[in-house]
């Protein structure tokens, strides 16, 4: 309701604000003393204490200043009611987001040929695309169906390991393994889904976390099959529809560069992998966008909104949940082989809970349900890793950002839900 409300009298009561900030600083001091003020360091193989009171002072001062600024900003900001508040949030409306999307796709396609591009950049872009796909996959489960899956990395692992192992045992190629990986992961998704169906949000999350860990521990310890912590190497790279990317082709085949009369360039393989995952990611995106407009997609969202009401409408929550798990898992499973092929090596280390948490962070920060937001979040995640100064702080920032988003913008940075169908066509909708 857009009532024109008078803003409250400005609370720039200096004394009150200072006291508030001082209290916050006091709390920060208590928190900082043991862990910031002191550091346990190893000197000559023995632990000693190093004091860091200067850091402590800086930290406390920062908290004081930050809290003060926050309070002042809150006091100065006029009360925004109803639509005024809504307009303050940067709304990316449909037209603008479509434009951004096309622009992004154009940049992505042109990337390997842009002036600043290099093998390193393309490699990075491939990694980003993998995370984007994982984010879109988890989005089906968390964002659309509202099921908090903390073990999503298990499906990614299934995809990667199934490719590595089948390539090793049955000498199947990348393209032959890819659909198998997807199907296998989807089956895992259904198998995982069955037991967790009746569980409520919190418990579902923990059980999926348990499953993720069980998979990782098995990968780590089932040495005869998975080679344990040593991992699996010598993973074959994808070929260009049968043309391998080798400097010298194995007898009986023509290599890619010979076929197209190019000089051999080791970058070809990297660029091809990038385009392959880009194409698959875009295809998956179209697939999920389409699903959202079909009954199954609406059922996912309805389930997220209110499961009891779904039952009252005759919708079987079991099949809806299973379908969400299966599709989400399939997407994760399809991303796995790309990761394996990119590195030519996989080990259980890459499939820990922290990885699941990162993918969840991408979905949450991007806005659960928003395809574009997830792309941006993935770019930021991968980008921060590469930025020299920020690499160590990456997860710290992400953790804080997850808390921050939930507190301030639970619907994510960009999300404003787009209805799956309209009666009246494209007019400005919400009051």
């Amino acid at each position: 309701m857009a009532l024109a409300a008078l803003p409250p009298p400005r609370r720039l009561d200096g004394g009150h604000l200072i006291k508030d900030a001082a209290l916050a600083a006091l709390v920060a001091l208590v928190l900082a003393i043991p862990l910031v003020g002191f550091q346990a360091v190893e000197v000559n193989a023995a632990l000693t204490i190093r004091t860091r009171f200067d850091w402590m002072a800086i930290g406390v001062a920062a908290v004081f200043a930050g809290r003060l600024l926050l309070r002042v900003a809150q006091a100065l900001r006029p009360v925004r009611t109803g639509e005024a508040r809504a307009r303050w949030l940067p709304t990316v409306d449909r037209r603008r987001s479509a434009l951004l999307a096309w622009l992004g796709i154009a940049v992505a396609i042109a990337l390997p040929f842009l002036p600043f591009s290099s093998r390193y950049v393309v490699d990075l872009a491939t990694l980003t695309a993998i995370y984007v796909m994982l984010g879109w996959g988890l989005n089906v489960v968390v964002g659309l169906a509202g099921l908090l899956d903390l073990g999503y990395v298990a499906f990614y692992a299934v995809g990667a390991y199934s490719f590595a192992l089948f390539a090793q045992w049955f000498h199947l190629s990348f393209w032959e393994c890819l659909p198998i990986a997807g199907l296998l992961a989807a089956s895992f998704g259904i198998a995982l889904g069955f037991p967790v169906l009746r569980l409520r949000g919190d418990y579902l999350a923990i059980v999926t976390l348990g499953f993720g860990e069980i998979v990782r521990i098995i990968l780590l310890n089932w040495v005869p099959v998975t080679n344990g912590p040593a991992g699996i190497g010598d993973i074959p790279r994808p070929s260009f529809f049968g043309l391998p990317f080798a400097a010298r082709a194995p007898p009986g085949t023509t290599s890619f560069h010979d076929f197209f009369h190019l000089s051999f360039n080791p970058d070809h393989r990297v660029i091809f992998l990038y385009y392959a995952i880009l194409a698959l990611a875009l295809a998956i995106n179209l697939f999920t966008l389409r699903l959202r407009k079909l009954p199954i997609g609406r059922a996912w969202e309805a389930l997220r909104e209110d499961e009891v009401a779904c039952r009252a409408l005759g919708i079987n929550p079991t099949t809806v949940k299973l379908s969400a798990f299966a599709i989400g898992a399939m997407i994760g499973g399809l991303a796995g082989p790309f990761f394996a092929a990119k590195q030519a090596f996989i080990s259980p280390e890459s499939f820990s809970f922290m990885e699941s948490a990162m993918i969840l962070a991408i979905v949450v920060l991007g806005g659960m349900g928003s395809q574009l937001g997830i792309v941006l979040a993935a770019v930021v995640l991968v980008g921060l890793q590469e930025l020299r100064g920020f690499a160590e702080f990456r997860m710290l920032i992400f953790g804080a950002a997850m808390v921050g988003i939930m507190v301030w913008r639970p619907r994510g940075l960009l999300a404003r839900r787009e209805p799956s169908l309209r009666l009246h066509g494209e007019r400005g909708s919400a009051a």
């Binding site: 208590v30 928190l31 862990l35 346990a40 908090l148 059980v207 780590l220 950002a401 808390v403 939930m406």
Partner: protein
């Protein structure tokens, strides 16, 4: 036989530690119905504070063990309680009326943040403390196997028992305990009757954190090595314990803790050490699927 008794003793000690952490989970779940995913990290912080306090005391020349222990316990409990309080205020209180998944996601973010916070401040490497409480005695000799009980193990079990007893008294007989139980039943009504719900919830977090801190002290003493990642595993295991015993039930948390400790000890002794964590995860999954109310919990009926 001797081997079995030794595992029993080890398992009980481990179980006591898990039980202390589990109480934090179960109390928070009981009062606000959410899983405090960051509780494991609170325990880890407790361990680090304990370690650092020991080192500082060593530096200052306080070496008399009982005094040092007391100071370390107090220090860990106070600082960790502060962390627990802050986490609730920053990450959970603003979300009390938000949608269902919000506090859980926030908790996960908090957990990630705290892990990396400690990792950055104290380094990623494992920290080893020279043994503080040493010595023990032989309980019995059985066909060549000596069953050894250390003073530290006795200390852990006794302290845990004392804390449990104290806790039960607090919950049962003090105004705070009553307020807590009232909030568990019906928060709105409790507020209408004049109970400061915010403060009660904060107190719950603080108490849970303090107990987790004690567990952290014990782990530092018992194992001698800690790193920033111990919170995750211990957290999941302690949560399993809380669920196994019946989430929301205090005696259940303790019982669950003991059971998990025993199971873990027996499993690594008689089956395989590598898969001992899997055994706990499997229990977690089985309990949540087949008996989510646990051993001592009460089933709740879905109200439409």
């Amino acid at each position: 036989m001797g081997y079995f008794v030794q595992q029993l003793i080890n398992g009980l000690t481990l179980g006591a530690i898990y039980g202390l952490i589990a109480i934090g989970y179960t109390m928070v779940y009981g009062i606000i119905g959410m899983i405090n995913f960051a509780h494991g990290e609170i325990y880890m912080i407790g361990a680090f504070v304990a370690l650092i306090t020991f080192l500082v005391l060593g530096m200052w020349g306080v070496t008399y063990v009982p005094v040092a222990l007391l100071i370390v316990l107090l220090s860990a409990m106070i600082f960790t309680a502060a962390y627990g309080w802050t986490v609730e205020r920053v990450a959970y209180r603003p979300l009390r009326h938000s949608f269902r998944l919000a506090p859980l996601i926030s908790a996960i973010g908090m957990s990630i943040f705290l892990q990396n916070y400690v990792q950055l401040l104290q380094g990623a490497r494992v920290k080893a403390l020279p043994p503080v409480v040493q010595g023990g005695f032989t309980l019995l000799q059985d066909s060549g196997f000596t069953v050894h009980v250390s003073y530290l193990q006795i200390f852990i079990v006794l302290l845990t028992t004392a804390l449990m007893a104290g806790f039960t008294i607090v919950i049962g007989a003090t105004p705070l305990g009553r307020a807590q139980r009232a909030c568990e039943q019906d928060m709105t009504m409790a507020a209408l009757l004049g109970i400061n719900v915010d403060r009660t919830i904060s107190a719950t977090f603080v108490m849970g954190a303090a107990l987790a801190a004690v567990a952290g002290v014990m782990v530092t003493l018992y194992y001698g090595v800690i790193d920033f990642f111990i919170g995750f595993l211990a957290g999941v295991k302690a949560f399993t314990a809380a669920v196994l015993g019946g989430i929301g039930s205090l005696p259940g948390a303790m019982l669950g803790g003991l059971l998990i400790g025993l199971i873990e000890a027996m499993w690594s002794a008689y089956f395989s050490v590598e898969y001992k964590d899997v055994s706990v995860f499997v229990i977690l999954v089985l309990v949540l699927i087949f008996r989510p109310t646990g051993l001592l919990g009460r089933p709740d009926v879905e109200k439409v």
